[in-house]
Protein backbone atom coordinates (compact mmCIF):
# COMPACT_ATOMS: atom_id res chain seq x y z
CA UNK A 1 0.00 0.00 0.00
CA UNK A 2 2.70 2.44 0.96
CA UNK A 3 4.73 1.62 -2.13
CA UNK A 4 1.64 2.19 -4.26
CA UNK A 5 1.15 5.60 -2.69
CA UNK A 6 4.76 6.54 -3.20
CA UNK A 7 4.82 5.39 -6.82
CA UNK A 8 1.58 7.23 -7.52
CA UNK A 9 3.13 10.32 -5.96
CA UNK A 10 6.20 10.01 -8.16
CA UNK A 11 4.01 10.19 -11.27
CA UNK A 12 2.43 13.33 -9.91
CA UNK A 13 5.63 15.32 -9.56
CA UNK A 14 6.75 15.42 -13.22
CA UNK A 15 3.22 16.38 -14.23
CA UNK A 16 3.20 19.26 -11.79
CA UNK A 17 6.54 20.41 -13.11
CA UNK A 18 5.54 20.21 -16.77
CA UNK A 19 2.22 21.97 -16.23
CA UNK A 20 3.75 24.74 -14.17
CA UNK A 21 6.41 25.10 -16.87
CA UNK A 22 3.67 25.59 -19.47
CA UNK A 23 1.95 28.12 -17.28
CA UNK A 24 5.20 29.98 -16.74
CA UNK A 25 5.92 30.00 -20.47
CA UNK A 26 2.46 31.43 -20.97
CA UNK A 27 3.16 34.15 -18.43
CA UNK A 28 6.44 35.01 -20.13
CA UNK A 29 4.82 35.21 -23.55
CA UNK A 30 2.19 37.63 -22.33
CA UNK A 31 2.46 41.26 -23.33
CA UNK A 32 3.88 43.50 -20.65
CA UNK A 33 6.98 43.24 -18.54
CA UNK A 34 7.45 40.61 -15.88
CA UNK A 35 8.28 43.43 -13.48
CA UNK A 36 4.75 44.73 -13.80
CA UNK A 37 3.27 41.72 -12.06
CA UNK A 38 6.10 40.99 -9.67
CA UNK A 39 5.83 44.22 -7.80
CA UNK A 40 2.92 46.19 -6.52
CA UNK A 41 1.58 48.34 -9.42
CA UNK A 42 1.10 51.33 -7.17
CA UNK A 43 4.76 51.25 -6.25
CA UNK A 44 5.71 50.64 -9.88
CA UNK A 45 4.14 53.91 -10.96
CA UNK A 46 6.54 55.91 -8.83
CA UNK A 47 9.75 54.20 -9.91
CA UNK A 48 11.93 55.80 -12.58
CA UNK A 49 12.93 53.81 -15.73
CA UNK A 50 16.54 53.51 -14.56
CA UNK A 51 15.44 52.11 -11.28
CA UNK A 52 13.15 49.67 -13.07
CA UNK A 53 16.08 48.49 -15.14
CA UNK A 54 18.17 47.99 -12.06
CA UNK A 55 15.27 46.19 -10.49
CA UNK A 56 15.01 43.95 -13.53
CA UNK A 57 18.67 43.08 -13.10
CA UNK A 58 18.35 42.45 -9.41
CA UNK A 59 15.26 40.30 -10.00
CA UNK A 60 17.28 38.20 -12.38
CA UNK A 61 15.09 38.87 -15.41
CA UNK A 62 18.15 38.64 -17.62
CA UNK A 63 18.87 35.13 -16.38
CA UNK A 64 18.32 32.14 -18.69
CA UNK A 65 14.70 31.08 -19.06
CA UNK A 66 15.01 27.80 -17.17
CA UNK A 67 16.68 29.48 -14.21
CA UNK A 68 13.92 32.08 -14.08
CA UNK A 69 11.36 29.31 -14.14
CA UNK A 70 13.01 27.48 -11.26
CA UNK A 71 13.04 30.64 -9.18
CA UNK A 72 9.42 31.37 -10.00
CA UNK A 73 8.31 27.84 -9.19
CA UNK A 74 10.14 27.99 -5.88
CA UNK A 75 8.24 31.16 -5.12
CA UNK A 76 4.93 29.54 -6.02
CA UNK A 77 5.63 26.62 -3.71
CA UNK A 78 6.29 29.11 -0.92
CA UNK A 79 2.98 30.81 -1.64
CA UNK A 80 4.21 33.78 -3.68
CA UNK A 81 1.74 33.81 -6.55
CA UNK A 82 2.51 37.30 -7.78
CA UNK A 83 0.19 40.31 -7.99
CA UNK A 84 -3.05 40.94 -9.80
CA UNK A 85 -2.62 43.42 -12.65
CA UNK A 86 -5.87 45.27 -12.05
CA UNK A 87 -5.89 45.77 -8.30
CA UNK A 88 -2.33 45.12 -7.21
CA UNK A 89 -3.57 42.72 -4.55
CA UNK A 90 -1.43 39.59 -4.03
CA UNK A 91 -2.99 36.76 -6.01
CA UNK A 92 -2.71 34.43 -3.03
CA UNK A 93 -5.01 36.72 -1.05
CA UNK A 94 -7.54 36.78 -3.90
CA UNK A 95 -7.56 33.00 -4.24
CA UNK A 96 -7.94 32.32 -0.55
CA UNK A 97 -10.50 35.07 -0.23
CA UNK A 98 -12.71 33.57 -2.94
CA UNK A 99 -12.11 29.90 -2.20
CA UNK A 100 -14.59 29.50 0.69
CA UNK A 101 -17.52 30.74 -1.42
CA UNK A 102 -16.72 28.33 -4.24
CA UNK A 103 -16.22 25.42 -1.89
CA UNK A 104 -19.45 26.15 -0.04
CA UNK A 105 -21.44 26.18 -3.28
CA UNK A 106 -19.69 23.17 -4.77
CA UNK A 107 -19.93 20.97 -1.71
CA UNK A 108 -23.63 21.54 -1.25
CA UNK A 109 -24.22 20.84 -4.95
CA UNK A 110 -22.00 17.78 -4.82
CA UNK A 111 -23.75 16.32 -1.79
CA UNK A 112 -27.23 17.00 -3.18
CA UNK A 113 -26.42 15.59 -6.62
CA UNK A 114 -24.82 12.49 -5.11
CA UNK A 115 -27.84 11.73 -2.94
CA UNK A 116 -30.44 12.44 -5.62
CA UNK A 117 -28.41 10.88 -8.41
CA UNK A 118 -27.68 7.60 -6.68
CA UNK A 119 -31.21 7.19 -5.31
CA UNK A 120 -32.86 7.97 -8.66
CA UNK A 121 -30.41 5.71 -10.47
CA UNK A 122 -31.23 2.97 -7.99
CA UNK A 123 -34.98 3.35 -8.56
CA UNK A 124 -34.41 3.43 -12.29
CA UNK A 125 -32.38 0.23 -12.20
CA UNK A 126 -34.71 -1.90 -10.05
CA UNK A 127 -37.69 -0.80 -12.18
CA UNK A 128 -35.81 -1.27 -15.44
CA UNK A 129 -38.01 -0.81 -18.49
CA UNK A 130 -40.89 0.71 -16.49
CA UNK A 131 -42.48 4.09 -17.07
CA UNK A 132 -40.54 5.51 -14.12
CA UNK A 133 -37.27 4.30 -15.62
CA UNK A 134 -38.02 5.74 -19.06
CA UNK A 135 -39.13 9.06 -17.61
CA UNK A 136 -36.02 9.29 -15.48
CA UNK A 137 -33.83 8.46 -18.49
CA UNK A 138 -35.40 11.22 -20.55
CA UNK A 139 -35.29 13.71 -17.68
CA UNK A 140 -31.65 12.80 -17.15
CA UNK A 141 -30.95 13.44 -20.82
CA UNK A 142 -32.65 16.81 -20.52
CA UNK A 143 -30.43 17.54 -17.54
CA UNK A 144 -27.28 17.17 -19.63
CA UNK A 145 -28.74 18.87 -22.69
CA UNK A 146 -30.21 22.09 -21.35
CA UNK A 147 -27.37 24.60 -20.99
CA UNK A 148 -26.61 25.22 -17.32
CA UNK A 149 -27.01 28.96 -17.70
CA UNK A 150 -30.39 28.71 -19.46
CA UNK A 151 -31.57 26.61 -16.55
CA UNK A 152 -30.20 29.23 -14.17
CA UNK A 153 -31.85 32.08 -16.06
CA UNK A 154 -35.24 30.35 -15.99
CA UNK A 155 -34.81 29.78 -12.25
CA UNK A 156 -33.94 33.44 -11.67
CA UNK A 157 -36.92 34.54 -13.75
CA UNK A 158 -39.38 32.33 -11.89
CA UNK A 159 -38.18 32.39 -8.30
CA UNK A 160 -36.55 35.82 -8.04
CA UNK A 161 -38.24 38.09 -10.53
CA UNK A 162 -41.78 36.71 -10.71
CA UNK A 163 -42.41 35.05 -7.33
CA UNK A 164 -39.80 37.10 -5.44
CA UNK A 165 -39.04 34.20 -3.10
CA UNK A 166 -35.30 34.23 -3.43
CA UNK A 167 -32.62 36.87 -4.02
CA UNK A 168 -31.30 37.27 -7.57
CA UNK A 169 -27.69 36.71 -6.63
CA UNK A 170 -24.82 37.64 -4.36
CA UNK A 171 -23.74 35.98 -1.17
CA UNK A 172 -23.07 38.37 1.67
CA UNK A 173 -24.63 41.59 2.86
CA UNK A 174 -23.24 43.82 5.62
CA UNK A 175 -26.31 43.34 7.81
CA UNK A 176 -26.09 39.53 7.79
CA UNK A 177 -25.21 38.05 11.14
CA UNK A 178 -25.91 34.33 11.12
CA UNK A 179 -25.55 31.74 8.42
CA UNK A 180 -29.33 31.59 8.05
CA UNK A 181 -29.38 35.21 6.94
CA UNK A 182 -27.45 34.37 3.83
CA UNK A 183 -28.89 30.91 3.31
CA UNK A 184 -31.51 32.10 0.77
CA UNK A 185 -28.68 33.22 -1.52
CA UNK A 186 -27.23 29.76 -1.91
CA UNK A 187 -30.48 27.88 -2.54
CA UNK A 188 -30.80 28.65 -6.23
CA UNK A 189 -27.18 28.37 -7.43
CA UNK A 190 -26.69 25.17 -5.42
CA UNK A 191 -29.89 23.58 -6.71
CA UNK A 192 -29.22 24.53 -10.33
CA UNK A 193 -25.66 23.25 -10.15
CA UNK A 194 -26.82 20.09 -8.39
CA UNK A 195 -29.58 19.48 -10.92
CA UNK A 196 -27.17 19.53 -13.84
CA UNK A 197 -24.75 17.26 -12.00
CA UNK A 198 -27.42 14.81 -10.86
CA UNK A 199 -28.02 13.53 -14.41
CA UNK A 200 -24.50 12.17 -14.73
CA UNK A 201 -24.50 10.52 -11.31
CA UNK A 202 -27.90 9.02 -12.05
CA UNK A 203 -26.80 7.37 -15.28
CA UNK A 204 -23.69 6.06 -13.61
CA UNK A 205 -25.46 4.67 -10.57
CA UNK A 206 -28.15 3.08 -12.77
CA UNK A 207 -25.66 1.12 -14.83
CA UNK A 208 -23.63 0.26 -11.74
CA UNK A 209 -26.76 -1.00 -9.98
CA UNK A 210 -27.82 -3.04 -13.03
CA UNK A 211 -24.35 -4.50 -13.06
CA UNK A 212 -24.48 -5.52 -9.43
CA UNK A 213 -27.99 -6.97 -9.79
CA UNK A 214 -26.66 -9.58 -12.22
CA UNK A 215 -24.07 -10.79 -9.75
CA UNK A 216 -24.17 -14.21 -8.09
CA UNK A 217 -24.48 -12.88 -4.55
CA UNK A 218 -27.80 -11.24 -5.46
CA UNK A 219 -29.11 -14.61 -6.60
CA UNK A 220 -27.85 -16.13 -3.37
CA UNK A 221 -29.59 -13.46 -1.34
CA UNK A 222 -32.80 -13.98 -3.25
CA UNK A 223 -32.69 -17.76 -2.92
CA UNK A 224 -32.22 -17.39 0.80
CA UNK A 225 -35.72 -15.94 0.79
CA UNK A 226 -34.80 -12.43 1.83
CA UNK A 227 -37.43 -9.79 1.12
CA UNK A 228 -36.96 -8.00 -2.19
CA UNK A 229 -36.19 -4.59 -0.65
CA UNK A 230 -33.46 -6.14 1.48
CA UNK A 231 -31.88 -7.80 -1.52
CA UNK A 232 -31.92 -4.60 -3.53
CA UNK A 233 -31.00 -2.16 -0.85
CA UNK A 234 -28.60 -4.02 1.41
CA UNK A 235 -26.97 -6.43 -1.03
CA UNK A 236 -27.24 -4.62 -4.34
CA UNK A 237 -27.16 -0.91 -3.64
CA UNK A 238 -24.33 -1.01 -1.17
CA UNK A 239 -22.01 -2.62 -3.67
CA UNK A 240 -23.24 -0.47 -6.53
CA UNK A 241 -22.40 2.60 -4.52
CA UNK A 242 -18.63 2.14 -4.54
CA UNK A 243 -18.03 3.20 -8.17
CA UNK A 244 -20.45 6.07 -7.66
CA UNK A 245 -18.38 7.31 -4.75
CA UNK A 246 -15.27 7.09 -6.88
CA UNK A 247 -17.00 9.15 -9.56
CA UNK A 248 -17.94 11.74 -6.98
CA UNK A 249 -14.35 11.84 -5.80
CA UNK A 250 -13.20 12.61 -9.30
CA UNK A 251 -15.77 15.36 -9.55
CA UNK A 252 -14.54 17.04 -6.40
CA UNK A 253 -11.60 18.92 -7.92
CA UNK A 254 -13.38 19.89 -11.12
CA UNK A 255 -15.83 21.73 -8.93
CA UNK A 256 -13.39 24.58 -8.50
CA UNK A 257 -13.73 25.20 -12.20
CA UNK A 258 -17.09 23.56 -12.70
CA UNK A 259 -19.13 26.32 -11.18
CA UNK A 260 -17.65 29.08 -13.37
CA UNK A 261 -20.82 29.73 -15.35
CA UNK A 262 -23.19 29.32 -12.41
CA UNK A 263 -21.12 31.68 -10.27
CA UNK A 264 -21.27 34.23 -13.05
CA UNK A 265 -25.06 34.08 -13.45
CA UNK A 266 -25.80 34.29 -9.75
CA UNK A 267 -22.98 36.76 -9.08
CA UNK A 268 -21.61 34.29 -6.56
CA UNK A 269 -18.28 35.74 -5.37
CA UNK A 270 -16.21 32.61 -5.92
CA UNK A 271 -13.06 31.67 -7.79
CA UNK A 272 -14.95 31.08 -11.04
CA UNK A 273 -16.38 34.57 -10.97
CA UNK A 274 -12.96 36.05 -10.32
CA UNK A 275 -11.54 33.95 -13.15
CA UNK A 276 -14.06 35.28 -15.67
CA UNK A 277 -13.38 38.83 -14.58
CA UNK A 278 -9.66 38.21 -14.99
CA UNK A 279 -10.10 36.73 -18.47
CA UNK A 280 -12.27 39.66 -19.51
CA UNK A 281 -9.84 42.19 -18.12
CA UNK A 282 -6.79 40.48 -19.69
CA UNK A 283 -5.40 40.11 -16.19
CA UNK A 284 -2.95 37.38 -17.24
CA UNK A 285 -1.12 36.69 -13.97
CA UNK A 286 -4.41 36.09 -12.21
CA UNK A 287 -5.77 33.90 -15.06
CA UNK A 288 -2.62 31.78 -15.08
CA UNK A 289 -2.42 31.38 -11.34
CA UNK A 290 -6.07 30.39 -10.93
CA UNK A 291 -5.58 27.84 -13.72
CA UNK A 292 -2.44 26.52 -12.04
CA UNK A 293 -4.21 26.40 -8.71
CA UNK A 294 -7.13 24.44 -10.14
CA UNK A 295 -4.76 21.95 -11.78
CA UNK A 296 -2.96 21.47 -8.47
CA UNK A 297 -6.30 20.76 -6.86
CA UNK A 298 -7.24 18.26 -9.59
CA UNK A 299 -3.95 16.39 -9.35
CA UNK A 300 -3.96 16.19 -5.59
CA UNK A 301 -7.60 15.11 -5.45
CA UNK A 302 -7.16 12.45 -8.12
CA UNK A 303 -4.18 11.17 -6.15
CA UNK A 304 -6.33 10.90 -3.03
CA UNK A 305 -9.17 9.23 -4.95
CA UNK A 306 -6.77 6.67 -6.41
CA UNK A 307 -5.43 5.97 -2.97
CA UNK A 308 -8.94 5.61 -1.58
CA UNK A 309 -9.92 3.21 -4.38
CA UNK A 310 -6.82 1.16 -3.76
CA UNK A 311 -7.74 0.87 -0.11
CA UNK A 312 -11.30 -0.18 -0.97
CA UNK A 313 -10.30 -2.63 -3.66
CA UNK A 314 -6.98 -4.39 -3.22
CA UNK A 315 -7.10 -5.67 -6.82
CA UNK A 316 -6.33 -2.17 -8.12
CA UNK A 317 -2.81 -2.02 -9.38
CA UNK A 318 -0.74 0.80 -10.71
CA UNK A 319 -1.60 0.98 -14.41
Amino acid sequence: MLSYAIRRMLILIPMLIVISFFIYSGLELMPGDAVSYMIDPEAAAEISPEKLDALRDSLGLNDPFVLRYVKWFGGVLKGNFGYSLSSGVPIRDIVFDRLPATLELSFIALILSTIFGSVLGFISAIRKGSIADNTLTIVGMLGVSVPQFVFGLVAILIFSLKLKWLPVGGRLMPEYVTYWDRFPHIIMPALVLAATMTAGVMRYSRSSMLDSMNKEYIKTARSKGLPEWRVNLVHGFRVALTPVIVLVGFRLPTLIGGAVVIEQIFQWPGIGNEFITAVRGQNFPLVMMIALFSVFAVLIASFLVDLFTAILDPRVKLG
Binding site: V18, F22, P147, V150, I276, V287
Partner: protein, 309 residues
Protein backbone atom coordinates in the same frame (compact mmCIF):
# COMPACT_ATOMS: atom_id res chain seq x y z
CA UNK B 1 -49.14 -15.15 -11.90
CA UNK B 2 -48.54 -11.58 -10.99
CA UNK B 3 -44.84 -12.16 -11.10
CA UNK B 4 -45.06 -13.27 -14.73
CA UNK B 5 -47.07 -10.20 -15.63
CA UNK B 6 -44.54 -7.91 -14.05
CA UNK B 7 -41.66 -9.41 -15.98
CA UNK B 8 -43.37 -8.78 -19.30
CA UNK B 9 -41.39 -5.68 -20.21
CA UNK B 10 -41.37 -3.59 -23.35
CA UNK B 11 -38.51 -5.65 -24.70
CA UNK B 12 -40.43 -8.88 -24.17
CA UNK B 13 -43.44 -7.51 -25.95
CA UNK B 14 -41.41 -6.46 -28.95
CA UNK B 15 -39.82 -9.90 -29.06
CA UNK B 16 -43.29 -11.48 -28.95
CA UNK B 17 -44.34 -9.29 -31.85
CA UNK B 18 -41.27 -10.29 -33.84
CA UNK B 19 -41.87 -13.97 -33.15
CA UNK B 20 -45.49 -13.72 -34.18
CA UNK B 21 -44.50 -12.10 -37.44
CA UNK B 22 -41.85 -14.67 -38.10
CA UNK B 23 -44.26 -17.53 -37.48
CA UNK B 24 -46.89 -16.12 -39.79
CA UNK B 25 -44.22 -15.84 -42.48
CA UNK B 26 -44.55 -12.09 -42.74
CA UNK B 27 -41.02 -11.25 -41.73
CA UNK B 28 -38.91 -10.90 -44.78
CA UNK B 29 -35.21 -11.32 -44.79
CA UNK B 30 -34.08 -7.79 -44.47
CA UNK B 31 -31.05 -6.72 -46.42
CA UNK B 32 -30.80 -3.49 -44.50
CA UNK B 33 -27.68 -2.91 -42.49
CA UNK B 34 -28.10 -4.53 -39.10
CA UNK B 35 -26.82 -1.54 -37.17
CA UNK B 36 -29.03 0.83 -39.11
CA UNK B 37 -32.05 -1.34 -38.37
CA UNK B 38 -31.17 -1.40 -34.71
CA UNK B 39 -30.91 2.35 -34.46
CA UNK B 40 -34.18 2.78 -36.36
CA UNK B 41 -35.85 0.63 -33.74
CA UNK B 42 -34.72 3.01 -31.03
CA UNK B 43 -37.60 5.50 -30.73
CA UNK B 44 -35.56 8.14 -28.94
CA UNK B 45 -32.81 7.99 -31.54
CA UNK B 46 -35.32 8.33 -34.36
CA UNK B 47 -36.98 11.28 -32.64
CA UNK B 48 -33.50 12.76 -32.21
CA UNK B 49 -32.71 12.29 -35.88
CA UNK B 50 -35.93 14.02 -36.91
CA UNK B 51 -35.30 17.07 -34.71
CA UNK B 52 -31.66 17.08 -35.77
CA UNK B 53 -32.56 17.03 -39.47
CA UNK B 54 -35.11 19.82 -39.09
CA UNK B 55 -32.60 22.10 -37.37
CA UNK B 56 -29.79 21.23 -39.78
CA UNK B 57 -32.00 21.75 -42.84
CA UNK B 58 -33.28 25.09 -41.59
CA UNK B 59 -29.71 26.20 -40.94
CA UNK B 60 -28.61 25.12 -44.41
CA UNK B 61 -31.56 26.77 -46.16
CA UNK B 62 -31.55 29.78 -43.85
CA UNK B 63 -31.76 32.43 -46.60
CA UNK B 64 -34.90 30.77 -48.00
CA UNK B 65 -36.67 30.61 -44.64
CA UNK B 66 -35.92 34.03 -43.25
CA UNK B 67 -37.54 37.24 -44.34
CA UNK B 68 -34.94 39.41 -42.65
CA UNK B 69 -31.18 39.72 -42.63
CA UNK B 70 -29.96 38.60 -39.16
CA UNK B 71 -27.63 41.59 -38.98
CA UNK B 72 -30.04 44.20 -40.30
CA UNK B 73 -30.55 46.91 -37.71
CA UNK B 74 -33.95 48.57 -37.69
CA UNK B 75 -34.20 51.21 -35.01
CA UNK B 76 -37.87 51.79 -35.70
CA UNK B 77 -38.75 48.34 -34.40
CA UNK B 78 -36.82 47.85 -31.20
CA UNK B 79 -37.72 45.18 -28.62
CA UNK B 80 -40.97 44.29 -30.39
CA UNK B 81 -42.87 41.31 -29.01
CA UNK B 82 -43.54 38.37 -31.35
CA UNK B 83 -46.05 39.24 -34.07
CA UNK B 84 -46.98 38.08 -37.55
CA UNK B 85 -44.28 40.31 -38.96
CA UNK B 86 -41.50 39.14 -36.65
CA UNK B 87 -42.35 35.61 -35.54
CA UNK B 88 -40.07 35.77 -32.51
CA UNK B 89 -39.92 39.51 -32.08
CA UNK B 90 -36.91 41.81 -32.36
CA UNK B 91 -33.95 42.61 -30.14
CA UNK B 92 -32.54 45.83 -28.73
CA UNK B 93 -31.48 47.19 -32.11
CA UNK B 94 -34.43 45.82 -34.05
CA UNK B 95 -32.83 42.71 -35.51
CA UNK B 96 -35.25 39.87 -36.21
CA UNK B 97 -34.75 37.16 -33.56
CA UNK B 98 -36.06 34.32 -35.71
CA UNK B 99 -33.54 34.91 -38.49
CA UNK B 100 -30.81 35.37 -35.90
CA UNK B 101 -31.61 31.96 -34.44
CA UNK B 102 -31.72 30.29 -37.85
CA UNK B 103 -28.52 31.93 -39.09
CA UNK B 104 -26.91 31.56 -35.66
CA UNK B 105 -27.48 27.83 -35.95
CA UNK B 106 -25.10 27.75 -38.90
CA UNK B 107 -22.21 29.11 -36.85
CA UNK B 108 -23.02 27.22 -33.65
CA UNK B 109 -23.35 23.89 -35.45
CA UNK B 110 -20.22 24.61 -37.46
CA UNK B 111 -18.31 25.25 -34.24
CA UNK B 112 -19.70 22.14 -32.53
CA UNK B 113 -19.32 19.74 -35.42
CA UNK B 114 -16.09 21.25 -36.71
CA UNK B 115 -14.44 21.06 -33.29
CA UNK B 116 -15.62 17.50 -32.71
CA UNK B 117 -14.35 16.38 -36.12
CA UNK B 118 -11.09 18.26 -35.63
CA UNK B 119 -10.56 16.76 -32.18
CA UNK B 120 -11.36 13.32 -33.57
CA UNK B 121 -8.97 13.77 -36.47
CA UNK B 122 -6.10 14.76 -34.18
CA UNK B 123 -6.92 12.37 -31.33
CA UNK B 124 -7.72 9.33 -33.44
CA UNK B 125 -4.83 9.62 -35.87
CA UNK B 126 -2.36 9.96 -33.00
CA UNK B 127 -4.11 7.35 -30.84
CA UNK B 128 -4.29 4.88 -33.67
CA UNK B 129 -0.61 5.01 -34.47
CA UNK B 130 0.66 5.38 -30.91
CA UNK B 131 -1.63 2.64 -29.61
CA UNK B 132 -0.46 0.26 -32.32
CA UNK B 133 3.23 1.02 -32.02
CA UNK B 134 3.38 1.41 -28.26
CA UNK B 135 6.71 2.29 -26.71
CA UNK B 136 8.13 5.76 -26.38
CA UNK B 137 5.71 7.56 -28.73
CA UNK B 138 2.78 6.13 -26.85
CA UNK B 139 4.29 7.09 -23.51
CA UNK B 140 4.89 10.68 -24.58
CA UNK B 141 1.40 11.21 -25.96
CA UNK B 142 -0.15 9.50 -22.97
CA UNK B 143 1.57 11.90 -20.59
CA UNK B 144 0.72 14.83 -22.84
CA UNK B 145 -2.97 13.92 -22.85
CA UNK B 146 -2.85 13.52 -19.08
CA UNK B 147 -1.52 17.04 -18.78
CA UNK B 148 -4.29 18.47 -20.93
CA UNK B 149 -6.93 16.48 -19.12
CA UNK B 150 -5.70 17.58 -15.69
CA UNK B 151 -7.15 21.03 -16.35
CA UNK B 152 -10.84 21.45 -15.63
CA UNK B 153 -12.15 21.85 -19.16
CA UNK B 154 -13.72 25.28 -18.86
CA UNK B 155 -10.63 26.66 -17.13
CA UNK B 156 -8.38 25.44 -19.95
CA UNK B 157 -10.75 26.83 -22.59
CA UNK B 158 -10.87 30.24 -20.91
CA UNK B 159 -7.11 30.23 -20.37
CA UNK B 160 -6.58 29.62 -24.08
CA UNK B 161 -9.17 32.25 -24.98
CA UNK B 162 -7.24 34.79 -22.96
CA UNK B 163 -3.97 33.79 -24.67
CA UNK B 164 -5.16 33.41 -28.26
CA UNK B 165 -7.88 36.05 -28.28
CA UNK B 166 -11.47 35.83 -29.43
CA UNK B 167 -12.37 34.74 -32.93
CA UNK B 168 -14.41 32.04 -34.60
CA UNK B 169 -11.36 30.17 -35.87
CA UNK B 170 -9.55 30.47 -32.53
CA UNK B 171 -12.55 29.01 -30.74
CA UNK B 172 -12.52 25.91 -32.95
CA UNK B 173 -8.75 25.55 -32.48
CA UNK B 174 -9.18 25.88 -28.71
CA UNK B 175 -11.90 23.24 -28.64
CA UNK B 176 -9.67 20.90 -30.65
CA UNK B 177 -6.79 21.50 -28.22
CA UNK B 178 -8.99 20.78 -25.21
CA UNK B 179 -10.90 17.91 -26.80
CA UNK B 180 -8.31 15.69 -28.45
CA UNK B 181 -7.28 14.02 -25.17
CA UNK B 182 -10.36 11.87 -24.55
CA UNK B 183 -10.51 10.94 -28.27
CA UNK B 184 -6.89 9.89 -28.17
CA UNK B 185 -7.46 7.82 -25.03
CA UNK B 186 -10.44 6.07 -26.55
CA UNK B 187 -8.74 5.29 -29.87
CA UNK B 188 -5.63 4.10 -28.07
CA UNK B 189 -7.55 1.79 -25.74
CA UNK B 190 -9.39 0.30 -28.71
CA UNK B 191 -6.11 -0.22 -30.59
CA UNK B 192 -4.49 -1.95 -27.64
CA UNK B 193 -7.08 -4.72 -27.80
CA UNK B 194 -7.41 -4.82 -31.59
CA UNK B 195 -3.71 -5.12 -32.28
CA UNK B 196 -3.67 -8.52 -30.60
CA UNK B 197 -6.18 -9.95 -33.10
CA UNK B 198 -5.09 -12.67 -35.46
CA UNK B 199 -5.73 -10.77 -38.65
CA UNK B 200 -3.23 -8.19 -37.53
CA UNK B 201 -0.65 -10.92 -37.04
CA UNK B 202 -1.46 -12.17 -40.54
CA UNK B 203 -1.10 -8.71 -42.08
CA UNK B 204 2.19 -8.28 -40.28
CA UNK B 205 3.52 -11.54 -41.64
CA UNK B 206 2.54 -10.42 -45.14
CA UNK B 207 4.97 -7.59 -44.63
CA UNK B 208 2.49 -4.70 -44.91
CA UNK B 209 3.78 -1.45 -43.55
CA UNK B 210 2.63 -0.12 -40.21
CA UNK B 211 0.59 2.77 -41.61
CA UNK B 212 -1.44 0.51 -43.87
CA UNK B 213 -2.10 -1.94 -41.08
CA UNK B 214 -3.23 0.54 -38.51
CA UNK B 215 -5.11 3.08 -40.63
CA UNK B 216 -6.55 0.88 -43.36
CA UNK B 217 -7.13 -2.42 -41.61
CA UNK B 218 -7.55 -1.82 -37.89
CA UNK B 219 -9.08 1.66 -37.77
CA UNK B 220 -12.35 0.69 -39.54
CA UNK B 221 -12.99 -1.81 -36.74
CA UNK B 222 -12.79 0.94 -34.14
CA UNK B 223 -15.15 3.26 -36.01
CA UNK B 224 -18.21 2.53 -33.82
CA UNK B 225 -16.99 4.09 -30.58
CA UNK B 226 -15.31 6.87 -32.54
CA UNK B 227 -18.61 7.85 -34.14
CA UNK B 228 -20.34 7.77 -30.76
CA UNK B 229 -17.62 9.95 -29.32
CA UNK B 230 -17.83 12.47 -32.16
CA UNK B 231 -21.59 12.78 -31.69
CA UNK B 232 -21.40 13.28 -27.93
CA UNK B 233 -18.52 15.75 -28.28
CA UNK B 234 -20.52 17.76 -30.80
CA UNK B 235 -23.22 18.17 -28.18
CA UNK B 236 -20.65 19.14 -25.56
CA UNK B 237 -18.92 21.71 -27.78
CA UNK B 238 -22.21 23.33 -28.75
CA UNK B 239 -23.03 23.72 -25.06
CA UNK B 240 -19.59 25.15 -24.39
CA UNK B 241 -19.79 27.60 -27.28
CA UNK B 242 -23.15 28.76 -25.98
CA UNK B 243 -21.80 29.19 -22.44
CA UNK B 244 -18.69 31.04 -23.61
CA UNK B 245 -20.60 33.34 -25.97
CA UNK B 246 -23.15 33.95 -23.24
CA UNK B 247 -20.32 35.17 -21.04
CA UNK B 248 -19.13 37.31 -23.95
CA UNK B 249 -15.91 35.32 -24.30
CA UNK B 250 -16.72 33.04 -27.21
CA UNK B 251 -17.45 34.01 -30.79
CA UNK B 252 -17.17 37.80 -31.33
CA UNK B 253 -20.51 39.49 -30.75
CA UNK B 254 -20.94 40.76 -34.31
CA UNK B 255 -21.47 37.19 -35.54
CA UNK B 256 -24.86 35.72 -34.68
CA UNK B 257 -24.55 32.44 -32.79
CA UNK B 258 -26.91 30.81 -30.35
CA UNK B 259 -24.72 31.83 -27.44
CA UNK B 260 -24.39 35.41 -28.64
CA UNK B 261 -28.17 35.78 -28.88
CA UNK B 262 -28.43 34.61 -25.28
CA UNK B 263 -25.82 37.12 -24.25
CA UNK B 264 -28.55 39.78 -24.04
CA UNK B 265 -30.25 37.87 -21.23
CA UNK B 266 -27.48 38.84 -18.83
CA UNK B 267 -29.47 41.98 -18.25
CA UNK B 268 -32.15 41.36 -15.65
CA UNK B 269 -34.64 43.73 -17.29
CA UNK B 270 -34.47 41.81 -20.57
CA UNK B 271 -34.66 38.53 -18.70
CA UNK B 272 -37.87 39.65 -17.05
CA UNK B 273 -39.64 41.65 -19.74
CA UNK B 274 -38.41 40.41 -23.10
CA UNK B 275 -38.69 36.64 -22.87
CA UNK B 276 -38.61 36.23 -26.66
CA UNK B 277 -35.03 37.42 -26.73
CA UNK B 278 -33.63 34.44 -24.83
CA UNK B 279 -36.19 31.71 -24.19
CA UNK B 280 -36.70 30.50 -27.81
CA UNK B 281 -32.99 30.26 -28.50
CA UNK B 282 -32.48 28.49 -25.17
CA UNK B 283 -35.09 25.95 -26.21
CA UNK B 284 -33.51 25.51 -29.65
CA UNK B 285 -30.07 24.84 -28.14
CA UNK B 286 -31.56 22.37 -25.65
CA UNK B 287 -33.53 20.57 -28.36
CA UNK B 288 -30.56 20.34 -30.66
CA UNK B 289 -28.21 19.07 -27.97
CA UNK B 290 -30.87 16.67 -26.73
CA UNK B 291 -31.36 15.26 -30.23
CA UNK B 292 -27.61 14.85 -30.73
CA UNK B 293 -27.35 13.08 -27.37
CA UNK B 294 -30.20 10.72 -28.27
CA UNK B 295 -28.53 9.92 -31.58
CA UNK B 296 -25.25 9.31 -29.79
CA UNK B 297 -26.89 6.99 -27.30
CA UNK B 298 -28.68 5.14 -30.09
CA UNK B 299 -25.41 4.79 -31.97
CA UNK B 300 -23.73 3.38 -28.90
CA UNK B 301 -26.47 0.84 -28.33
CA UNK B 302 -26.40 -0.26 -31.95
CA UNK B 303 -22.64 -0.51 -32.32
CA UNK B 304 -21.64 -1.80 -28.91
CA UNK B 305 -23.91 -4.53 -27.53
CA UNK B 306 -21.94 -4.77 -24.30
CA UNK B 307 -23.00 -1.26 -23.28
CA UNK B 308 -26.70 -1.93 -23.45
CA UNK B 309 -28.89 -1.68 -20.41
Amino acid sequence: MENIKKRNTRLDRSFDKLRAREESGLAKKSNMNRQLRKILNNKLAVAGMIVFSIIILSAVFAPLICKYDPLMINLKEVLKAPSADHILGTDRVGRDIFSRIVFGGRVSILVGLGSALGAALVGVSIGCYAGYKGGAIDGIFLRLSEIFMAFPQIILVLLLVSILGQSLMNLIVIFVITGWGPMYRMARAKMLSLREEEYVQALKSFGLNTFTICYKHILPNALGPIMVNITLSTAMFILQEAALSFLGLGVPLNIATWGNILNAAQELRILQENWWMWLPVGIVISLFVLSVNFIGDGLRDSTDPSQQG
